[in-house]
């Protein structure tokens, strides 16, 4: 039962460096998301994707880029790391909402990636 898998779990970056957080899911979910969680706060949406080849910005996209070339993978790229990007990053995925039903859909999270920029 892999679910949503993120790598790396921990990383220290220097200011100005770039890196990619990897995320893969094996549940055949259409929707994938990247959130960040700052200390003592709830999670905020960075980017999301509704399917391969389709991505869009969330609440806090600045400083990040994403791509979705396959259903399974949704990497998050930091181009020029800044101290403000020190955070915990969570990848998540979900099924589409069921047609005709006024209901939500459960979102499953990866284990998180702790990133420190110094």
């Amino acid at each position: 039962n892999a679910g949503v898998t993120q790598t790396p779990k921990f990383r220290i970056l220097k200011i100005g460096q770039s890196m990619t957080l990897q995320c893969t899911q094996d549940m055949n979910h259409n929707y994938m998301y990247w959130y960040r969680q700052d200390p003592g706060m709830g999670l905020k949406l960075i980017y999301y994707s509704v399917g391969a080849g389709i991505t869009d910005k969330g609440e806090v996209p600045n400083g990040y880029n994403v791509s979705r070339s396959t259903t399974e993978d949704f990497p998050l790229r930091l181009e020029l790391a800044a101290p403000s990007q020190t955070s915990v990053y969570f990848c998540a995925s979900s099924y589409p909402e069921q047609h005709g039903r006024s209901s939500g859909n459960t979102i499953y999270f990866g284990e998180g990636s702790w990133l420190t920029v110094v």
């Binding site: 259409n30 929707y31 998301y33 959130y35 003592g40 706060m41 709830g42 999670l43 905020k44 949406l45 999301y48 509704v50 399917g51 869009d56 969330g58 609440e59 969570f90 979900s94 589409p96 909402e97 006024s102 209901s103 939500g104 859909n105 459960t106 979102i107 499953y108 999270f109 990866g110 284990e111 998180g112």
Partner: protein, 115 residues
């Protein structure tokens, strides 16, 4: 702007007590309200609520949603030290016509259960 507010932010009780955690929200395009438990790692799903007045139960935990008053509560009875965690409330709002949802999170309630 979509907003989710949880209270209290922090709660310390003794083992065996009953606790009630609150979550109020103001969002457009409400789809669902979700409760998560977060220990050291990722949020773990507890409940998803979409209809008013229908209680969801799982063991000692239960939750209910009031869509008229825009709030939800999470109850934990006979608390145990293993219930110590941050409890996050999130409201799902529609992001796209394809049905993707954004979760708007509250700040969380840090619950500590003392033996």
């Amino acid at each position: 702007e979509d907003k989710v507010v949880q209270s209290p932010l922090s709660l310390v009780v003794h083992e065996g007590d009953t606790v009630t955690l609150n979550c109020s929200y103001e969002v457009t395009n409400f789809r669902s309200l979700l409760w998560y438990k977060q220990e050291k790692k990722a949020p773990t799903f507890l409940f998803m609520l979409t209809s008013s007045g229908i209680e969801k139960k799982s063991g000692r935990l239960s939750s209910i949603l009031d869509k008229k008053e825009l709030f939800s509560i999470l109850n934990i009875t006979a608390t145990q030290t293993g219930d110590s965690a941050i409890y996050l409330c999130a409201v799902g709002t529609l992001l796209s016509l394809q049905g993707a949802q954004k979760l708007v999170f509250g700040q969380g309630t840090r619950l500590t259960i003392n033996p």
